[in-house]
Subunit: 481 residues, 2 copies
């Protein structure tokens, strides 16, 4: 039989309607322009190594050896030979430190048989989950009388933070009247995942002019409105430090969220992937503020951000506190998250190892420590300086205001003046076409009606910024003028 | 405010009801026993490196250098020094071949800025998708007048094959009356993913006694029954070579499926992850048989199987032919698959690189070729020998029959004799408790009512098999006797 032409197919409308601006029309147009030879500066996404940030030497040296274990013994043998002979063209610094060799051996010894080539447990390698628990306990100053310690059995290695978020939202959203509160503006992973799961996105609006802060009444208003519309709110998402706003939450704000969640029996989803990217103020974790409280807390971390920037390796973790029991079942959330992880078999092993290295950096006084700290500080200082350069450029752009502290990797300036009929989408598209600078319009993240914004990742090298910022200022003042 | 104890939460019942036997109660019990010190032989899952299979040297050497690019120049410098001096403790074979260095450099040169640390395009690196298209064209003997060539823009790098399957099924299942035909027995990824997406699993039953073959009438019967029940069948899954059966489809059977799909306007999902694991007969791809036909075809491949066994690295691809248009939209399936891929950002880069190496092995005559072929043949010969050993043991087990050719990594023997009241689950659990051999009962894959089976992955080293098979025979004959 000859096959016939296929008809259009009805598909899952949730996927059809889902939007993901960070990889939407503006970045797609940028890719087209790049293929035609235009120089593009990709500031639409937090992808530091694509803009020249170097990976941490220690982490990559270890990963490299774990991927090819035969090289560990050889490296040691070569080091010995070069210590005994004097071959001038090879320097001691061409060899990895002894603690790199030891770390690689330790990882291989702790991994179940098969090293990086074997599936791990669905949740991820147990020793890595233990190291994550230690990292959390140390970060949150455990032991102290007001906290409980992290449990490796309630930690899941995930493919970036995104997979963990999906696991939790897919589970929480049981029907099409179930809603999840998210801050506006938000990272579009949340809106997209809620949409795909068939749930309701319930917006709450941190106050831009006061630096994206929020209080209980603002949360209560959002919840009340959702209830009026017949929505059962199941959880609240908080991104701290904020994406796209960069705002860093105070301990008081975190306490507000936890009390609100307790009062209304909500789960808290704390996206803490930018916990190392705080340039003023201090990061406080939800787990620390939760202490011995009984609110269900899901917190997410990632190797993609911080000073690691290992986006491509897709590593991260999800930590659960107070996993809720499941209605009409003897199971709890940890059981069902494990089942979901099982169907994907496991998080990729290179990402797992980089997650391990993120939570187990070279200890103070170790051979690799000095270099590690230098690399870390260089990245973080550079990010801060670049944010400052861009903020200063905003002062020369008519009607541009940028609120809040500097955190994460983004600035989210408000465009108070746009030509009649023009949106922030038009603005960002023109900015791209004119200067090659690829940003994302505020609409992609959500914003208060009547306002216009853009998000820019402050990642390009300073030399490049020094070159493009005057072009942007010129573009801007002509565009709005 | 003090937080209060949280109540049980209503969750997505699809996840609650979803089952995934390959990581279900038997493997979970095995993990418990292992923690108590029992020696477990993990044959419940195709995880070759966990059972001693070595990764391919070429692939890992390249990956290792790509993860730590500074080592490439150093390796070259060291090689030169050792060629000029004579240090007896170091052999030439301690250095990687020149083509490993070249391959590593080429990959880094072709990757977009940032190497493995940067997000790639959502679909995966373009040069890898081009290499996959070349591989498919070569495999399917393109150009020939009856085929069309693969298109890199219709190829997606995925996290294992599983992620690609999920993307397609999540899209196809638009409502709870949409069904997907799957062979019984099947790999539980399919039943689990259909369940999670809220669709209907429509079984068809290849004929065990004739070696798991099937004809059109068998497919028509299954479809007719589904229609009677109000199910709209959207697609048909075929696993070739079969998992768990190992059956290898003939070109005629593939033609039957394609004609059937054309007649009923179904999409075909061809799981071809075991295409290198054919120990008798020949693998023919669905794309080759499809030729210039217009049936929508989604085919899946993976680095986890074959002679690579890189399960932990989570690499694979999805190739689309004749992407269907989407009803009430200007978009087609490639657009929507791209959107789904975007929300996960990209497949992990180490997995992408190993996928590239899978489709671009060292060419004949190259420096690394000989060793590559030796390693490949060793793995495949060993797998075949181990399957034979296990098949021979079955002859000594009362009432055990194993049908079909040997393919994939599994045998799926039928247990014709079980004690009254005992199921194949009971059998596998007792087998585990008695011998440490971890298999999965047939129920986990689905089976004709009234039959009992188990699946065993033929992966343990031959020495270990020689030791455990007599124990299994003894266990079996006592259990059923």
């Amino acid at each position: 039989m000859k096959s016939s032409l296929s008809l259009p197919i009805a598909v899952n409308t949730n996927i059809l309607e889902m939007e993901y601006a960070v990889r939407g029309p503006i970045p797609m147009r940028a890719a087209e322009l790049e293929n035609r030879g235009m120089k593009i500066i990709p500031c639409h996404i937090g992808n530091p190594q694509a803009l020249g940030q170097s990976p941490l030497s220690f982490n990559r040296q270890v990963l490299s050896l774990v991927e090819d274990p035969a090289k560990i013994a050889r490296e040691r043998a070569l080091k010995n030979i070069f210590e005994e002979t004097s071959i001038s063209s090879i320097k001691e610094s061409d060899f990895v430190s002894d603690d790199v060799l030891t770390a690689s051996e330790n990882i291989l010894a702790k991994m179940k048989a098969g090293g990086t080539g074997a599936y791990t447990e669905s949740k991820g390698e147990r020793f890595i989950r233990e190291a994550i628990a230690d990292f959390i306990n140390k970060r949150d100053l455990h032991p102290n009388p007001n906290s409980i310690s992290a449990d490796p059995e309630k930690i899941f290695l995930t493919s970036g933070a995104s997979q963990g978020v999906k696991f939790v939202l897919d589970l929480l959203i049981a029907q099409n009247t179930d809603g999840i509160m998210i801050p506006i503006p938000q990272y579009p992973l949340y809106s997209a995942t809620i949409k795909k799961a068939g749930g309701v996105q319930v917006n709450y609006y941190p106050d831009e002019d006061s630096g994206w802060t929020f209080d209980q009444s603002l949360l209560e208003d959002s919840l009340a409105k959702a209830k009026e519309n017949g929505v059962t709110v199941k959880g609240i998402v908080v991104i701290n430090p904020g994406n796209p706003t960069g705002a860093v939450l105070s301990e008081k704000s975190i306490r507000t969220v936890i009390d609100f969640a307790a009062k209304h029996q909500l789960a808290v989803l704390a996206d803490e992937v930018y916990q190392e990217n705080v340039y003023s103020g201090e990061f406080v974790s939800f787990a620390k503020v939760l202490g011995t409280g009984s609110v269900p807390l899901f917190s997410f971390h990632s190797i993609s951000k911080g000073f690691y920037g290992e986006c491509g390796h897709r590593g991260g973790y999800l930590e659960v506190r107070n996993p809720p029991k499941v209605q009409d079942s003897h199971l709890d959330f940890v059981d069902l998250l494990t089942k979901q992880a099982s169907v994907s078999l496991c998080a990729n092993t290179a990402g797992q190892i980089l997650t391990y290295l993120m939570v187990s950096p070279p200890p103070e006084g170790s051979e690799s420590y000095q270099k590690f700290i230098e690399e870390k500080n260089k990245v973080l200082t550079d990010l801060k300086d670049k944010a400052t350069m861009i903020r200063e450029a905003f002062f020369q752009m008519e009607g541009v205001e940028c609120f809040g502290e500097t955190g994460a990797m983004y600035l989210f300036p408000r465009l108070n003046k746009l030509p009649p009929g023009k949106t922030d989408f038009d603005y960002c598209m023109s900015l791209l076409e004119t200067t090659g600078l690829c940003t994302v319009n505020g609409t992609g993240f959500g914003q208060q009606e009547g306002t216009s914004h853009l998000r820019i990742a402050f990642l390009p090298p300073q030399e490049l910024l020094a070159q493009v910022l005057p072009e942007w200022i010129k573009f801007h003042n002509e565009y709005v003028g």
